[in-house]
Symmetry: C2
Subunit: 231 residues, 2 copies
DNA sequence: CGCCTTTTTGAGCGTATTCAACATACGTGG
DNA sequence: CCACGTATGTTGAATACGCTCAAAAAGGCG
């Protein structure tokens, strides 16, 4: 089992003030003084694929800004299975519920190699008045993401969903994109592992995607768009 | 076409201060003084089923607290169709994006007879500092709703989804519940109108639900739960 | 190299879709 | 009040799609 406790492969301290993606993150509006008023450490964590950031029902001690990579949010089903209900990508926040709820409401697991910043809930609570605007924005982004998953990844045929997934993984200007395990693809698109596999195979055969390395693909964006709304 | 402009069948002025569901709403924490500082009217609107509250892309001039009933949030698809991405029920807010975005991001339409309060964005902006806590809660509720729709209404077989819908429509303590048009049931569960229809028929035949009046059903909660996680 | 996990492929089956016909309800005007 | 038209709901038959179960192939990793 790969999805166990969080085992930071690597972590250190970062100066948020000179964060490269600062314009995207929660702390976008803070001043130097604000930073100085915070003495709690903010960790910078590297997550190999399959690493769990936190588990559903656990006490929500921190929230996490994604600097790079992709995280899945899953919830358990009555039958013991799970469903991926949303994704968290660059600039998004995982575990936002920590600001309003005592427990995490999802299990969050890295789908790709992912870098996150851990912000203890106390830090956020302390800076809360200054962060309000950005917190709203992050909630907003979270709702949008969730609705996007519903609209694009849970609607239409398996082929359509898969095509939309490939388009969503990276802007079409980016040469190639990395895909994750077929189980996760299935749980995300609401199809079985086997179907996910078959569709990927079919796309490869038709050269809509080309596997340049293990799970790294070059995509034909035009063809994918055709599939995504035609079938 | 029933889903046209908003045609308030009825509206008047309400004293928010003595609102029956005040504990549920955005204004829960406000004091008398706060209310006095607001002079803009807050309308109380009755929406017959099928009435659109607002349209996707329109300027977001207000947000709406649902006092009674049920509203669907839909988004258009590339092929011209639409998908219901979330529901808005009692105590929830439709059009929350008005607080952070210039345009509505969904089309909101009443599924059942529905009563809402219209809160102009200016009023909310003015009270914003006092409302922060409640706004966060509403965003949180919105995310939860959306994930619930994903988990319960967009996962599993058509029968399972339908069973979960009947359980979701009202607490099982409530004797009966009202269902809406088969088209909307389909768009919500991600199945076709015909399938929606067939499943409802089947449930009626098996007495899992009993139609006591047009689209009003008495439910066998136990049987529905069995279906919802067995099949 | 062998073991385990993940991915892939195949065959048969069941469910949901499609397309079509028919039924029912509702509202309007004759 | 009934006749008609439209919108909505219901049912049927054939098809297609995705699922299940099973087995084989292809990676990691000790």
């Amino acid at each position: 089992m790969r999805e166990t406790e969080i085992q930071a492969a690597w972590y250190g301290l970062e100066t948020c003030e000179k964060c490269a993606i600062r314009h995207l993150v929660l702390f976008a509006d803070l001043t130097s003084d604000d930073f100085n008023s915070v003495h709690l450490p903010i960790e910078d964590i590297w997550l190999p694929p399959g690493t769990a950031l936190y588990q559903q029902e656990q006490p929500a001690s921190a929230l996490f800004t994604v600097r790079e990579g992709l995280i899945k949010l899953e919830q358990y089903l009555a039958d013991g299975g799970y469903r991926i209900v949303s994704l968290v990508g660059q600039g998004d926040v995982a575990g936002l519920e920590a600001t309003v709820s005592p427990h995490y409401e999802h299990t969050a697991v890295a789908l790709l190699p992912t870098k996150v910043c851990r912000l203890p809930r106390d830090v956020v609570a302390k800076l809360s008045p200054k962060l309000n605007r950005q917190l709203m924005e992050k909630w907003h982004a979270m709702v949008q993401r969730s609705h996007q998953c519903m609209r694009e990844l849970s609607t239409g045929s398996a082929r359509q969903r898969m095509a939309r997934l490939f388009l969503l993984l990276a802007p079409s200007s980016v040469e190639h994109c990395r895909l994750f395990g077929r189980d996760d693809v299935g749980a995300l698109l609401g199809i079985t592992t086997e179907t996910a596999c078959r569709v990927v195979s079919d796309f490869k055969k038709r050269r809509v995607i080309v596997e340049v390395a293990s799970n790294i693909f070059r995509r034909d964006a035009q063809a994918l768009e055709l599939i995504s709304d035609g079938d």
